[in-house]
């Protein structure tokens, strides 16, 4: 391994480990939250962030694929959608566990829950679609068009549909300036560190995943010829 790679991995490991420790020991529990349940925030929020980052990245890579027809962008899009789904599921599960504590129910169709489940359905369909197209070039092209379509639909999924429901129990600790739940400065520091760590972790996973996809494709091409 190159020394820079090692350094990067060390930094990722350190920031995440530190974030975990600080989440438990340094950050105070938030007001109006039951027990210690607010500590899940330091994992739930970065996961949701990484998941949306991954989907945006997949859309951008798809547009670039359509422009250049460079296979690398197809691998990037596929990798990002896969990782986005994993982090999206993790964000949903942590959110749902927290909802059980706070709202006494795992699932109550809060607008945030509805939009994330829809986004996950949309990107699950991406893989369903891929496997339904036999010809390789067509599969890449059509999947790219679909993921690019995601960039168009996502804003409606996340901003308009929740507004219609008219209510949400979901706290908005980052986007909302008028906080119902006070974000204490120590909490904000830990959240920032954790988000950075998760983002770097995602980038590393993404690089690995792209490499894996390239290798898998090379193997399949070899076994066919």
């Amino acid at each position: 391994m190159k020394p820079t790679t090692l350094l990067a991995l060390g930094a990722i490991w350190l920031s995440i480990t530190l974030a975990i420790f600080l989440a438990f020991l340094y950050a105070p529990p938030a007001k109006n939250f039951i027990g210690e349940s607010s500590r899940i925030l330091f994992f739930h929020v970065p996961m949701a962030w990484v998941s949306s980052l991954a989907f945006i990245l997949a859309g951008v890579a798809s547009v670039r694929y359509l422009r250049t027809r460079d296979v690398r962008f197809d691998h990037q899009a596929r990798s990002a959608v896969g990782l986005g789904l994993i982090f999206g599921v993790l964000a949903t599960v942590t959110g749902s566990l927290w909802a059980r504590v706070m709202w006494n129910s795992y699932w109550n169709w809060d607008p945030r829950q509805s939009s994330i489940i829809l986004a996950l359905t949309f990107y699950l369909a991406y893989f369903g679609f891929r496997s339904a197209v036999e010809e390789v070039e067509a599969r890449r092209r059509l999947a790219a068009a679909y993921a690019a379509l995601g960039l168009i639909v996502a804003p409606f999924l996340f901003y308009i549909a929740p507004r219609i429901a008219g209510f949400t129990l979901h706290p908005e600790p980052i986007l909302n300036a008028n906080l119902k739940v006070e974000v204490e400065s120590r909490m904000r520091q830990v959240l920032l560190l954790s988000s950075l760590g998760f983002t770097a972790f995602f980038v590393w996973l993404h690089i690995l995943n792209c490499r894996l996809l390239t290798l898998l494709e090379a193997r399949d091409a070899k076994s066919l010829s």
Binding site: L66, L118, T121, F122, A125, A144
Partner: protein
Amino acid sequence: MSSRSDFLDFLARSGAVLAKDWRTELRSRYALNSLALFAFSTLVTVSMALGPVGSSPLAQPLLPVILWLILLFAATAGLPRTFVGEEETHTAIALRLAGPPEAVFAGKLGFALSLTFALEILVVPLFLAMTDLSPKDPGLFVATLAACGFGLAAGSTLVAAMVAQARGKGTLFAVLLLPMLVPLLVMAVALTRAAVSGEPPVVEITQVLLYDGMVTIGGFLLFPAVWNP
């Protein structure tokens, strides 16, 4: 001068696609029949299943949901034909040669739009009669049907073009289309509910128009990549 004639040429070509689609459609009446029959039988089934509850005030907030689900599922049953048929009969190749992809998309969009509006004209009055529903704000009601029908048609046209080149077209069409149409569906239901009750809507119809515009522009941008191998 030349841009004007280019535009006229574009219109002529997309008009030709639209006219061709309607000619084949009127010959077999496949899409029209399947859409209308599907919508009608669902409508009857739902009204029967609701029974007297359907016309009680209890059901009032639910009726817009049922109406849009009927329209949505009828659309998923009939609209993919626009492209699937071309691929199955191998006429897609000829169509690819006939004009620029944007003109083909415009023509297909026109066909899906006219089909959707025809479906709404057939089904909605029947639905209103069968469920004893009378919108307090008919203007908003019609505007909602038009704006949301447009989004339904635009989304379906693009997704149909994608699905036509895959296996398992029918199921896949619904799987790809439904998640992207849900925001539209939610807005449609909210607006229809407001039109029925006469209360101010929680969404603006401009948001639906924004959705329509985005999906249409996205369709025109993405369609050339979907259409041309």
